[in-house]
């Protein structure tokens, strides 16, 4: 059961990572990264149960908070930066 959940979460992580690399805007990357962080929390929680030692859930807790912090920090950066500069599509690559 936990193995199935772990594999599902890993597949999800791969898909969101694809979006994070594809873009096209920075907000898409940020959305994918935020979603990826939530999946990492789930992965660590499920993995702890899978190995039968669920003592390390504190780490998942830390991740959940750090993930939120990172997203909000980047968004704050946008708010203080020149708003027009943020939506440009990356022209090369």
């Amino acid at each position: 059961m936990f193995i199935a959940a772990t594999i599902a979460v890993l597949i999800t992580m791969a898909l969101t990572l694809t979006r994070a690399l594809m873009g096209p805007t920075l907000f898409d990357r940020l959305l994918a990264v935020n979603s990826f962080g939530t999946k990492t929390v789930m992965l660590i929680a499920v993995y702890g149960f899978m190995t039968g030692r669920p003592d390390f859930l504190d780490i998942a807790l830390v991740y959940a908070l750090i993930n939120f912090l990172g997203t909000v920090a980047v968004l704050k950066f946008f708010e203080y930066d020149d708003p027009a500069a943020a939506t440009y599509q990356e022209d090369d690559y």
């Binding site: 193995i3 772990t6 890993l10 992580m13 791969a14 990572l17 994070a20 690399l21 873009g23 920075l26 990357r29 940020l30 990264v33 990826f36 962080g37 990492t40 992965l43 660590i44 993995y47 899978m50 190995t51 390390f56 504190d58 780490i59 830390v62 991740y63 750090i66 993930n67 912090l69 990172g70 920090a73 980047v74 950066f77 203080y80 930066d81 500069a85 990356e90 022209d91 090369d92 690559y93």
Partner: protein
């Protein structure tokens, strides 16, 4: 199963690293560096290094992302769209990597319990067997960090302190200049930094 999770996470790391190389936008690269740290920390959990995972998540993914964002807000987040992909650099990197991979061929395999690092009687074996009675806390990493290698930790704290002083003295110097000079010197993007300084003066 454990090995599979590690392998998949390692593959994610490689993909993210290639993304960082290819991406021309600095803000995107910083975001991806944060994810890179997060994935690495997840892999540390799978490899039993829970304390390292804690630190890497908080410091690598949290603090360093915020430091990079701060630096970018004082400079600009657009890398110049010129091609710098030099063949010489690529050749150098491939040769170095090839030599390093040749060097790994006689390394102990992943997870082997017979490798010299695992069987040295004065290090790992002693820490695992004796630290519970010699130092006390059940977490062996804490025992080693605080007791067996205490001076090392003191040195680390000194380094962080010195870095803090260095950052303050590099960035704080301009605050002592007269206000008008700061405004004249500041070209383009740093105008906002200068106005921050002005606010600091008023407060």
């Amino acid at each position: 199963m454990e090995t599979l999770v590690v392998a998949v996470l390692l593959t994610f790391l490689v993909v993210i690293a290639i993304g960082i190389i290819v991406l021309r936008d600095l803000l995107g690269a910083v975001i991806l560096l944060g994810v890179y740290s997060l994935v690495a920390a997840g892999a540390f959990v799978v490899m039993d290094a829970v304390d390292v995972a804690f630190t890497e998540a908080a410091v690598g993914s949290g603090i360093s992302t915020i430091l990079f964002l701060g630096a970018l807000s004082f400079t600009s987040h657009k890398q110049k769209p010129r091609g710098h992909d030099s063949v010489a650099a690529l050749v150098f990197v491939v040769i170095t990597g090839g030599v390093l991979i040749y060097g790994t061929l006689d390394m102990p395999y992943y997870g082997s319990a017979e490798s010299p690092a695992q069987t040295h009687p004065e290090l790992a074996v002693r820490f695992i067997e004796e630290s519970g009675s010699e130092v006390g806390p059940p977490n062996i990493v804490t025992s080693v960090l605080g007791s067996y290698r205490g001076y090392d930790t003191l040195g680390e704290t000194l380094v962080v302190f010195a870095a803090g002083i260095a950052v303050l003295s590099i960035l704080g110097l301009k605050r002592r200049r007269p206000e008008d000079e700061v405004l004249e010197d500041a070209p383009g993007d740093t105008a906002r930094g200068a106005s921050d300084n002005q606010q600091a003066y008023k407060e």
